[in-house]
């Protein structure tokens, strides 16, 4: 059939419901619909890919014509992609405690309004809350006869508080996103917390940058794992030669208590019941007891690179899948939070994340905290703001001197190649020795 050696088709249909409340006004609120498909074909070649909006499932001659079009594209490629084999299985979707589709939009809007109203307090000049609910029906089939279909819902909210005093403008931000169902009820505390953070930051100082002892809270330590190790372990980057971890399986990268995992089967925000190539998802220990152990793979990168697990291919609706993280975390160690602060003694404690970025080929990463505190004699003292950290992938994990005994996951989105996918990151509290902290404060 047109010399086709492999094809797969992944169609995602669904809807997105959103509510945007700004200073008490419902700015916009409603539902939009989408239907996108991506057809990938190999003809002993590289990929020929058709991205199709508004796809109608077709058979016979109509489908043949799509295959022919994709095959024509594949024939202009140079590479011969080989696909590794891996187990196929689809996991059950965890039940939602309350299905957001059963709650009418007026009620959602009212509940979000309550969270937004909880931001009101002295010093706050603006407040904003957003609700987002995505419902996706995914259908996959490939030339080997694998077929699956599943429905997934994700929903959650963000709330922003802006405080201002004499030209000093600061923000507090809270978010909750979940695969476990409707989560807008009884969340006013999130609004209050955002307001509290924003107002407190008006009196925070900007620390002086330099090397210091740093305690990361579980959310920021999770982003650290994501930026410092996760991206560089993605099989496509290894295959391209664009990762410092290439060829380093078996090398020690941190202490033997350190284990870093990506696990799409975990019931967190990055959960996938099956990957975008129909491969079973599984826990992958990227770093095991301080040693580089496995890379994250698609079928293509598994065959090309080896050393790791397929099941990590993910794609936005209508986009060809890429190797992506899902739920990425540092396993808990045995230190208590108190022990971590005592061991830190003098340094800085950083909380929450404003995101990060990595150049995996160079092995350099950067990420930013929402706020933090100076640590003096093991105690948190002055509040600090606008603090970033940067580091080198190959040396940074050796700087982890203590891992806390309780891990917590935080939801978010990760961008790569123009595609954004839901993920979660997590870790226990961790202590970093001699980390490079960026802050524009001066003595």
């Amino acid at each position: 059939m047109h010399g086709i050696t492999y094809y797969d088709l992944r169609q995602v249909t669904g809807s997105v419901t959103h509510i945007d409340i700004d200073n008490g006004r419902v700015e916009s609120c409603g539902t939009a619909f989408f239907n996108k498909a991506v057809l990938r074909v190999l003809v002993n070649s590289g990929w020929g890919v058709l991205q199709i909006d508004n796809y109608t499932p077709s058979r016979g001659e109509k489908f043949e014509e799509l295959l022919r079009q994709a095959a024509r594209l594949a024939r202009i490629t140079d590479e011969e992609v080989r696909l590794g084999d891996a187990p196929r299985q689809i996991l059950p979707i965890p039940p939602q405690k309350e299905d957001p589709r059963d709650v009418d939009i007026e009620e959602k809007s009212r509940l979000l309004g309550e969270i937004e109203a909880a931001v009101v307090r002295e010093g706050i000049v603006n407040r904003r809350a957003n609700y987002i609910e995505k419902d996706e029906l995914v259908r996959f089939s490939d030339s080997s006869g694998t077929e699956y279909e599943y429905r997934m819902g994700r929903s959650g909210f963000n709330v922003l508080a802006v405080a201002s005093r004499n030209g000093n403008v600061q923000m507090g931000y809270e978010r909750e996103h979940s695969i476990h169902g409707f989560n807008l009820r009884h969340q006013q505390d999130c609004g209050r917390k955002a307001a509290e953070t924003a107002v407190s930051l008006l009196d925070a100082i900007i620390p002086k940058g330099g090397k210091m002892q740093v305690v990361l809270d579980p959310e920021l330590a999770g982003v650290f794992a994501h930026e410092a190790v996760g991206h560089a372990s993605e099989g496509d980057l290894i295959q391209e030669g664009n990762s410092v971890l290439k060829g380093r399986i078996g090398e020690r990268i941190g202490s033997d208590t350190l284990t870093i995992v990506d696990d799409p089967s975990l019931h967190e925000f990055g959960f996938d019941p099956v990957d975008a190539e129909g491969i079973a998802v599984q826990r992958t220990e990227i770093v095991k007891n301080g040693v580089i152990n496995a890379f994250l793979h698609s079928r293509e990168t598994l065959a090309s690179v080896g050393n790791g697990c397929a099941g990590h291919a993910r794609g936005m609706a209508g986009e060809p899948p890429l190797v992506r993280m899902s739920n990425t975390f540092i396993e808990a160690g045995d230190a208590t939070k108190a022990e971590i602060f005592i061991e830190c003694k003098n340094g800085i404690y950083l909380v929450g994340s404003r995101g990060g970025q990595v150049d995996p080929g160079r092995g350099v990463f950067q990420f930013n905290a929402e706020y933090g505190y100076l640590v003096e004699n093991g105690e948190c003292t002055t509040m600090v703001r606008d603090v970033s950290l940067s580091g080198d992938i190959l040396s940074t994990l050796h700087q982890i001197s203590l891992c806390g005994n309780e891990r917590k996951m935080s939801p978010g989105y990760c961008g790569k190649g123009g595609q954004s996918v839901p993920v979660s990151d997590g870790a226990p509290f961790i202590l970093l020795n001699d980390a490079v902290v960026g802050g524009s404060g001066v003595d």
Partner: protein, 434 residues
């Protein structure tokens, strides 16, 4: 006109909407694109995309509703969803959608020579590879893409505008040891990009930065490339000009009209009719005729950007800055061709730290302007020549303060997304060495 008959359903949609709501606006986009990607030096993927999208906005008694779909045949459901969404919105002051203006419909950013075929994309990749060949660097990834899009904007006041856009983009990544180089280019016209130069720069930065060493913490005079400057402008400075953020108290520039917000040598304006620029258009996403808007003239803040919704709410006039990220959602506030300009001079004579790009600029505090980012491809420069490369360092500062420390604008001009800007020399900024 022949084509208009083909979208008779838009007329039907408007007639249907008028039975239930005061006004309706239809945004319809249809396009095709192709892309080819390199994995190392081999073309590993070729893709074509056919997309279409319909965005409907309804206004009834000041309540604004919206919905979207990529199935135009399902416009009835989409319209129902838009009307339903409007019922939940808080009503606001509203002075009506614009009627049709007598505007030429010849496109400003459409290249008839762009043939959206994968072979063209493949050719662009080959030219980039020729550009990188002279350097001791391995190509890791690259891409080339072409697109052609037709946009229709229609509303219940008789507006029927159409526009066509083309796009071409290339990018290349290279590595030497632990040193990476990345470069890209994009335009609406095939002859306005230089893929060989993109290859050359990616190779140059990867191979030359490999010799980098660390530098001590301290204050340095900087030369930010247009790319590095665009990262700071785009993440912090430009959003502060958004009229909605200003009136909502989410902008540092609130209450600062007619005050100095940057050094005297800097002007910042939106020029929607700039010849050759990718964002050029005669009307904005709501159909308001576009015009030049001077936000900052000689360092003084003179204007903010408004769409109709924000303008009506706060008693201002639309600056024709409505923009859509896609067909979904409501139009927001953006810009067309945002030009940073001023007196140009030689900025690389005296010793400066040149910074090609930044890692993590999106983590800057958009309200206060504080940032600390990692440098990419930094070099000392003197007498117009690259000198010692810097391996790794952080730059910390405040984006708003930084614009008062501008010591000169270079003679180069580059387009980065919708920004058009030169290199900029900045006095005495804090660098944290390793």
């Amino acid at each position: 006109m022949r084509w208009w008959v083909a979208v008779a359903w838009i007329e039907e949609l408007i007639r249907e909407a008028e039975r239930s709501v005061d006004e309706v606006e239809v945004f319809y986009v249809e396009g095709e694109s192709v892309a080819a990607e390199l994995k190392q030096k081999k073309v590993s993927l070729a893709t074509t995309t056919r997309d279409c999208g319909l965005g409907i906005r309804t206004i009834h008694e000041g309540r604004i509703g919206s919905s979207s779909t990529n199935d135009p045949a399902g416009w009835q459901d989409c319209l129902k969803a838009a009307i339903a969404s409007g019922r939940l919105a808080t009503p606001q002051e509203w002075g009506g959608l614009p009627g049709p203006a007598d505007l030429p419909m010849t496109p400003l950013a459409w290249d008839p020579n762009i043939v959206v075929e994968p072979e063209t994309a493949r050719g662009l990749l080959a030219t980039m590879l020729e550009g990188v060949a002279a350097y001791d660097a391995e190509v890791t990834a690259g891409s080339a893409g072409l697109s052609a899009t037709r946009i229709t904007l229609a509303n219940s006041h008789g507006m029927r505008y159409t526009d066509r856009h083309t796009g071409v983009s290339v990018s290349l990544e290279a590595i030497h040891g632990l040193s990476t180089g990345y470069e890209f280019d994009s335009s609406w016209a095939l002859d306005r990009i230089d893929p060989a130069h993109v290859g050359d720069r990616a190779g140059f930065f990867a191979s030359e930065s490999a010799k980098g060493t660390d530098i001590p913490t301290g204050a340095y005079d900087l030369l930010l490339s247009p790319l590095a400057w665009a990262e700071l402008l785009g993440n912090v400075f430009v959003p502060a000009l958004n009229g909605r953020s200003v009136h909502a108290g989410r902008s540092k520039f609130a209450g600062m009209l007619n005050q100095s917000v940057a050094c005297e040598g800097l002007s910042l304006y939106d020029d929607p009719h700039r010849p050759g620029a990718s964002g050029s258009t005669r009307w904005d996403a709501e159909g308001v005729p576009t015009r030049r808007i001077d936000y900052i003239r000689n360092g003084v803040l003179e204007a903010f950007a408004y769409d109709l919704k924000t303008a009506y709410r706060y008693g201002k006039e639309s600056t024709a800055n409505a923009a859509r990220g896609g067909y979904g959602g409501l139009p927001g506030i953006g810009h067309h061709n945002l030009v940073a300009d001023g007196k140009r001079s030689t900025v690389d004579d005296e010793r400066v730290l040149f910074i090609h790009n930044l890692i993590g600029a999106h983590t800057a505090n958009p309200l206060s302007g504080e940032f600390s980012v990692e440098l990419s491809n930094a070099f000392f420069m003197e007498g117009g020549e690259f000198q010692e490369p810097v391996r790794s360092a952080m730059l910390s500062g405040n984006v708003f303060d930084l614009h008062f420390a501008i010591a000169g604008l270079g003679k180069d001009t580059r387009t980065v997304g919708s920004l058009i800007l030169p290199s900029v020399k900045i006095k005495s900024q804090r660098i944290i060495g390793k």
